[in-house]
């Protein structure tokens, strides 16, 4: 009898404690969640703020606050935003296709094939991957110039996918975890390595392909340093550089264009967020398979 009561007590105590801990966790998560969302709310708020139309506001709620789509209208009418979007989509699609193909090829070679230069090559590429690309941007610019490619979107595609092979690491880690039995059976049956690569490994690698496509598709939307060096024709800007220039070109441009910048950023951010959230599962799989060993 005594035992039972104390057990019940204990259970109740445990429950109360869990409820208490959970409440604290909810409070912490809610607070942090708000902290994380606030800047984005601020971005949206500024994007839809018609008046006061200039710069950032120095009051919490300005007297003549008015919300609307005027900034978006300005974005489409006064800037070449549609053009920039088109450029970015073109560059992103091409460079992401090339990058994904390169990474899959290199990863398969390093994961599945054995050859003399494998280990040295892997180490060299690892070291090269640590080399921040923009450090040699001027040299890249002149190489492109010698190829007659400056100020063209093709140059951007080449630069973005040229170094792609360096990020083989995550994909190779994924390939390493794929069971080999299927491939071995195929090779016993006389299949070539090409057949194994194309018919067996690639179909099994869907998560890592989606991850690679996703990350390489997003990067041209975010880079403005390389574009800044290679492209100086406003017609050929990508979204990132276009928006960056919008508020950084001149001293006055910030206060003039900040709300328009936020409108553009909202569109770009919204697109990428939608893409990202829909692919989140694969992203997590990719990032964990590369990191986890």
């Amino acid at each position: 009898m005594e035992n039972k009561i104390s057990f019940k007590d204990k259970l109740f105590g445990q429950r109360a404690r869990t409820a208490f801990v959970n409440t604290i966790i909810y409070i912490v998560l809610a607070t942090l969640g708000i902290l994380w969302v606030l800047p984005i709310v601020y971005l949206l708020y500024t994007a839809f703020r018609v008046t006061p139309s200039t710069g950032i506001i120095y009051q919490l709620i300005p007297d003549d606050l008015e919300l609307g789509f005027a900034n978006f209208a300005r974005l489409f009418q006064e800037t070449m935003f549609m053009r920039w979007m088109g450029n970015t989509i073109l560059v992103a699609v091409c460079s992401c296709a090339l990058t994904t193909i390169f990474i899959l090829m290199v990863s398969y070679a390093f994961s599945r094939m054995r050859f003399k230069m494998r280990k040295p090559l892997m180490n060299i590429m690892l070291v090269l991957g640590m080399f921040p690309g923009f450090m040699s941007m001027i040299a890249v610019y002149f190489i492109l110039k010698a190829m007659g490619l400056t100020n063209s979107l093709l140059a951007l595609i080449l630069v973005y996918s040229g170094g792609a092979a360096l990020s083989y690491y995550i994909c190779k880690g994924f390939f390493d975890t794929l069971p080999r039995s299927l491939e071995e059976a195929a090779i016993l049956d006389g299949a070539s390595q090409w057949t194994v690569f194309w018919r067996i490994t690639i179909p099994l690698a869907k998560p890592i392909i989606v991850y690679t496509v996703l990350t390489s598709f997003i990067s041209p939307w975010c880079d403005f340093i390389f574009v800044n060096t290679i492209i100086n024709d406003a017609e050929k800007y990508t979204v990132a550089l276009g928006l960056y220039r919008l508020i950084n070109a001149e001293k006055s441009s910030f206060s003039e264009n900040f709300t328009v910048f936020c409108a553009g950023a909202t569109i770009v951010g919204g697109l990428i967020t939608a893409l990202f959230l829909s692919m989140q599962k694969y992203y997590v799989e990719g990032i964990s398979s590369g990191a986890v060993k």
Partner: protein
């Protein structure tokens, strides 16, 4: 089949790198010296040896490559390579010359040191590639010599014996070497397409196919690890257990005793002739499949990473700065003067070494804080979200993930404006009657406020990544471990310290290192938030241009984009950054479990 568990790499017995290299070079030259005339001629005129043996396409390709190389060097590359070794990078300055006929000053362009150096780098790479192609060409000839030697000899005695031993209507086949691959110091033989009813003889032991059993049958030291039989034939795979050298397998005589002299004759022909173009080409989708897989990505790498890198390294040894900028001026070699300048103490106006050490120290402090704050807080938040009984997991995760999805330059610029001297934060401070805080511009007390601000903002950027990564991994911690800890009376904090943290650290070590190196080079966060500033009162040296929150990379960037750019000093810093990052990543990755136990999963 887990073969790596008990594998012991024969690293100790292997000779050192240089003695191996020496041996290789020696055997290479001996093979040429003792080789056929075709091989010797091919050393000078690439491809001729191959053509002499009927490999016309291959030979033509080699020959064409040599012709192209010679043309390139004679008409273009040679002069630039000369500049590399002659000590100058151009001597003729561009100048205006009076043209009497037209009555105007005409500009005659002089040498452009930058382009001379760039083309010299291109020429070095072309030269190196050519040497590689030449080596392949000679190796191909040596291989052809060997094939010819084999063809000239009689088939080995045991081969004849085996043929003689089988009943009429059967013959034997020696398995050609490309069915053999060496992995992890073991030998694996893959034989496929074996006729039904054959007898297999390996190393003197012969067994009919019907008696072979997977993982039981042995041919001497070789174990049959896989065996499949269909109506078209059989396939099997053999492993030798102990570590052996690759050549040793060749001493195994492997025969397939099957129908007819047809097979035997085919073997003889294959053995005695050099590979045809078709055979060579088919290697590229089989044993040498890595070549087509790697060649295009590596060319991309060569052009857009290696070449610029070599170029940048060379710039560090020149005086390329705002006073020597082509096309208006020339620059030339100065040896180690730039390194001497960076590491100088108190010579001249400013103490560059001190500036460098300060920037380096902050780079490391920043990298440590940025990496570990993100890691620990991210992990704790992930634990909270994943805790049993917490609802709306998807919502919480999404709230954080949105921060990843918005492009960094947008959020960072936004943050910069929010933290501006007149930004929202200071507006709120003003409303509550406090003084303004220069979140990113206060240079007092070693600029402690901007430094902390940057690290905090970086947490906003970085924590969501950790949350995403941890979510998957935390679910993999075996439930028994928690259970055992709970039975031992451990509280949640102890569970975290004794189980979760060690497990996570163990499992995500490579991720942490990548993050750390990434943070050393975290250009975006610093540049878009503080721009490296503020310029602090400790006088970072008027000429050094370093500012309080500069990392090595942002300092480098400022040196190259300043109105008075100093590319030479920037290159020295670039080399230092590169050395630090490369050393860190090489050491850790080569020690990491992932790299050592590559084959664990396979």
């Amino acid at each position: 089949m887990n073969i790596s568990a008990e594998s012991t790499p024969a690293a100790k017995e292997e000779p050192g790198f240089f003695s191996r290299l020496g041996r290789k070079i020696k055997s290479f030259f001996l093979s040429v010296v003792h080789g056929s005339a075709a091989t010797k001629v091919s050393c000078l005129l690439m491809g001729t040896g191959q053509m002499a043996r009927g490999q016309y396409i291959k030979g033509a390709v080699y020959f064409l490559l040599e012709v192209l190389f010679v043309l390139y060097m004679v008409f273009f590359g040679g002069t630039y390579l000369g500049h590399l070794f002659s000590g100058d990078l151009g001597t003729v300055l561009g100048s205006e010359v009076w043209n009497e006929e037209l009555g105007i000053y005409e500009y005659t362009p002089g040498d452009n040191s930058f382009l001379i150096l760039l083309y010299a780098v291109v020429s070095i790479i072309v030269l190196l590639l050519f040497i590689a192609v030449w080596y392949m060409n000679v190796r191909c000839n040596i291989a052809n010599d060997k094939t010819r030697n084999i063809a000239a000899k009689k088939p080995p005695q045991s081969y004849l014996d085996a043929v003689a031993a089988i009943p009429a209507g059967s013959a034997s086949l020696k398995i050609s070497s490309h069915a053999v691959s060496v992995q992890g110091g073991r030998v694996k033989l893959t034989l496929s397409g074996i006729q039904p009813g054959s007898v297999l003889e390996i190393g003197g032991i012969s067994l009919p196919l019907s008696e072979i059993e997977q993982n039981v049958t042995r041919f001497g030291p070789l174990l049959v690890t896989a065996f499949r039989q269909t109506e078209n034939g059989a396939a099997l795979e053999l492993w030798r257990d102990e570590n052996i050298y690759a050549q040793e397998y060749l001493s195994f005589e492997i025969y397939l005793l099957t129908d007819g002299e047809r097979v035997a004759a085919e073997y003889l022909r294959e053995c005695g002739s050099v590979p045809t173009f078709k055979q060579d080409a088919s290697q590229f989708i089989n044993k040498k499949f890595y070549v087509p897989l790697l060649v295009v990505p590596l060319i991309g790498l060569l052009v857009f990473t290696v070449m610029p890198l070599i170029f940048m390294i060379l710039i560090a040894f020149t005086n390329y700065d705002f006073e020597h900028t082509p096309p208006g001026a020339l620059f030339g070699w100065v040896g180690f003067a730039n390194f001497a300048k960076i590491f100088s103490i108190g010579s001249g106006g400013f103490e560059f070494l001190l500036v460098f050490l300060r920037v380096l120290a902050w780079t490391f402090i920043w990298a440590v804080f940025a990496t570990f704050t993100n890691y620990f807080f991210g992990m704790i938040i992930a634990l909270m979200i994943n805790k049993k009984g917490i609802r709306l997991k998807m919502l919480w995760r999404t709230l954080f993930v949105i921060a990843i999805a918005v492009p960094q330059f947008v959020t960072l610029l936004l943050m910069q404006k929010i933290l501006d001297a007149d930004g929202i934060f200071n507006v709120i401070l003003g409303l509550t009657g406090n003084d303004k805080i220069l979140w990113l511009g206060d240079s007092s007390h070693w600029a402690i406020i901007p430094r902390v601000t940057i690290i905090v903002v970086n947490m906003w950027i970085g924590i969501p990544y950790t949350i995403l990564m941890c979510t998957g991994i935390l679910m993999n911690i075996p439930a028994e471990m928690y259970e055992a800890a709970r039975l031992d009376g451990a509280g949640p904090f102890q569970v975290f310290r004794k189980i979760v943290l060690p497990y996570m650290l163990h499992v995500t070590a490579p991720y942490l290192i990548t993050q750390f190196v990434g943070n050393i080079n975290n250009f975006n966060v610093i540049w878009l938030l503080s721009g490296g500033g503020p310029i602090d009162n400790l006088n970072y040296g008027a000429g050094s241009k370093a500012q309080a929150t500069d990392l090595l990379v942002t300092w480098l960037y400022r040196l190259t984009t300043d109105v008075n750019p100093q590319y030479n000093l920037a290159s020295v810093i670039g080399i230092i950054i590169f050395l630090i990052s490369a050393a860190l990543s090489l050491i850790t990755f080569n020690r990491s479990k992932a790299n050592k136990n590559e084959e664990d999963y396979q």
